[in-house]
């Protein structure tokens, strides 16, 4: 009877071996800085690939480029599964949707100095959702251990596919191109786009990438809380490693609170000084937090905000400064978790 509840038919010894292998793989991955850049073929989405290459500065960084295509569904096909037409196309030597975009992503990486095309590569195919093509992956491994992975995944919807991919990670950072539409908290509770859905519930930090022009620097925002200080510490390391100048910023809701905001900035600066990270500038403003961050952050390449860690329901009532900034900013926004 208890067999019914077993998750696997493997013997205990085999199961233990599988778990050990998985555990080893995970621990190896946790020693690497893994960046997941999600593309959908639009020009905006390739900015995420560019940023991934620029952030992967050391040999302990891996870049994973992900394209998720919806499962071929055939209910409108009058009785024949669309997958039959897809199989026919593949038999005739045509590429799956997304392959072209992944190739372009490889070109973008090369333009950014990450030329993985000549590295030794491994190809892997996995059955997924009964789709004839399934999930496909090409992993390029450099002699120094760095990986560049091109992943073509199929899923019932794109957001689910990206979140599934996290499970195969984990990842330190997910990067998306700027979405065409970002709904309000209320509307997004019922229906939201891919980037908004994933950015809301992703377990790791998220970067919504926008074109930077000739802007530079990390505009790191703090409210003085311990969560925010943690975020500053981690974002500052990334900025330091990528050679970008750091500006610390805090907003006071009114003049009376200005000393507290100044103190928060001073504390953050002291923290970074202790870490031997140079702060280029500090700023304090008075007013609405989102308005001020968006306005002043527009001069910088990245705005860094710390996520409040609120659930969707909590966001519905309390809102979220991080997601408001992601929605309204004109620069890229890094939401640190």
């Amino acid at each position: 009877m208890f067999d019914f509840f077993k998750r696997t038919q493997l013997s205990d010894r085999q199961e233990a071996a599988v778990r050990k292998t998985l555990s080893n793989l995970r621990s190896q991955r946790r020693n690497r800085f893994r960046i997941l850049a999600c593309i959908d073929g639009s020009d905006e989405s390739f900015i995420s690939v560019r940023y991934a290459a620029q952030m992967a500065v050391t040999d302990d960084c891996d870049v994973i480029i992900l394209f998720v295509r919806p499962i071929d569904q055939g209910l409108h096909s009058g009785g024949l599964q669309v997958r039959l037409a897809r199989q026919n196309m593949m038999d005739a030597g045509f590429e799956l949707p997304g392959v072209k975009h992944l190739k372009r992503a490889l070109e973008v990486l090369k333009e950014e100095g990450l030329d993985a095309a000549d590295w030794p590569r491994e190809v892997e195919n996995q059955d997924a959702w009964g789709d004839p093509a399934g999930d496909n992956k090409i992993e390029y491994k450099s002699p120094t251990g760095r990986s560049v992975v091109l992943k073509l995944k199929t899923a019932p919807d794109v957001a689910v596919g990206i979140l599934d991919q996290y499970e195969l990670g984990p990842y330190n950072l997910m990067i998306f191109g700027q979405p065409s539409r970002w709904r309000s908290e209320f509307k997004s509770f019922f229906e939201s786009g891919v980037v908004q859905s994933v950015a809301t519930i992703a377990p790791c930090s998220v970067l919504v990438a926008r074109p930077s022009g000739d802007k530079h620097g990390y505009f790191i925002c703090t409210d003085g809380t311990s969560r925010s200080m943690q975020a500053i510490r981690r974002a500052a390391v990334l900025a330091h490693m990528t050679g970008e100048p750091i500006t610390l910023f805090s907003v006071a809701p009114d003049e009376a609170s200005k000393p507290a905001a100044e103190e928060a900035v001073a504390n953050a600066k002291a923290l970074l000084k202790a870490m031997k990270i140079t702060v280029a500038d500090t700023r304090v403003a008075v007013g609405n937090a989102v308005d001020e961050i968006v306005e002043m952050g527009s001069l910088f390449r990245f705005i860094v905000v710390s996520d409040e860690g609120r659930s969707r329901l909590q966001r519905l009532f309390k809102g979220s400064i991080a997601s408001e900034v992601m929605k309204r900013a004109r620069s890229s926004v890094l939401d640190v978790r």
Binding site: R30, N31, R32, F33, R34, V57, T58, D59, D60, C61, D72, G74, L75, H76, S77, G78, G79, L80, Q81, V82, L84, A85, R86, N88, M89, D91, A92, F94, T144, G145, A159, V160, L163, D164, Y166, E167, L168, G169, P170, Y171, N172, F189, F190, E191, I201, P203, C204, S205, R233, R234, A235, V237, L238, H240, M241, M275, S311, L313, V336, R337
Partner: protein, 518 residues
Amino acid sequence: MSTETTPNTFVLARDSLLAREPAAGLRRFRRRGYQRYRLLRSNIDFSLLWKRRWFIISMMVGFSLMAAPTPDGLTHPAQIVLCMSLMATILFISEAVPLPTVPLLIIVGEVILLKVDPTKVAQSLMTDSVLFIMGSLMLAVAVVKQRLDKRIAWWIVRTTGTNVYWISFGITTVCGVLAAFIGEHTVAAMMLPVGVTLITLTSNDPKKVHNLAAVILFSISYGCSIAGVATPSGGARNAIMISYWKDFFFDPTDPATRRYLMDYVSWAIYTFPMFIVRLPIVAALLVFTFRPETTDMSRAISRLRTQVSLQGPMRGSEWMTILIFACTISAWVAFSSTLGLGVIAIAGTAAFLVFGLVRWEDINAGVNWGVVLLYAAAISLGVQMKDTGAAQWVASGVIHGMNAIGAGSDLAFNTAISLLTIGVSNTMTAGAAVAVLAPIVLKTAVAAGEDPLRVGFVTAISSAFGYLTPAAQPAFTIIYASGYLKSSDFFKIGIRMMVLSFIVLLLTSTFYWPLLSP
């Protein structure tokens, strides 16, 4: 592992942004499961209700109307059937639940709400028409698997030459002739690779040959679409109408009603001219709507020639495929009135399996069984509409309305029916549109003193006029999957095609069909 560090000895993976353990504490939901659970948890409350809102609305509307007082002239079971039809229609249009769920609910409703004996419900699901739909789909998979597309394309261009206009006309004609016998979706799935081959051999940049791609791909889809009504095997809608004629009007004791047992050839005599007349219209429309960037395709044709040569001469299996299919079509023509269309289709499929030309696994994976179930349940519900008197009651109302707007003449009646069907078929699949509308339309025809055969043909043919969106027709969905076309392309040509097809149908029904059944 190399961990290059700065003088401050930072390690990105340790000191910068953290990667949270994905499945910590939730071992049962590892890998795929945990995030799915997160997504579900975030959706489980209002979001799921919102996504299923049309399902909830359809249930509330349906059950409220069932509980309402029964109108005069209507029995309570008939009222329930009408409510079930309304609910099914809302679900067909909104797709609030996966479409195969609708037939499952219809079956449950017939037993629980209508108190029909479960065995009778089960029997009503499997008719010769359903067998025919199922058999045709299985045959379709078997034919697609033979990969005859390049040879067919080569045969077309050998006849038409290298000019894109003639190639387009050739593709439309050949796809049409094939689709008339083996179903529009089959031909679209079969010919799509060769269409895309011709486009990619002309240019690798889709933006440079967008109009050329539109002409070639629409030649395939419109060829299939206009021929889908030419014979009973062209589409499920045809089989559904044949089934309704038999169920509604055939009486074994009355020899005069034998005309309602529609055989393969009789159907084709009525509808084949619709295909022939529209063939040049499609060719002209394509050329005038999308002016191709280049008219000479000799470069692509020479490469196609190379590919066909590499395939070598026709193999035994390919000859056998053609032979079995020719035998199946011949049997449909000669024996459909005695053996039934479905049995012949099933026999053809069996022959493909016996000769090892297709694997059962391929058939199983290629046929969308949910659609078969959908049509089976829709036909079953249609029969209930007739048996309970619901169709008759609605028909009386429709006649009353049509007389009020002055649609009493043959032409006006056919126009109204056709417009109604076109409207409905642009919101749901053609088969479902016919299944929903036909019981009402046929009974209305009887009440109005019109010939149910002609009105049935108007309905079945009009249901193929859903040209406006990629989801409107099976062949459209398949070519849209190639990624070369935009939704706006479908509307651009579809609206013109719809108007012209409508005019051709009215002319045919007014001048040609009366000659066949005066």
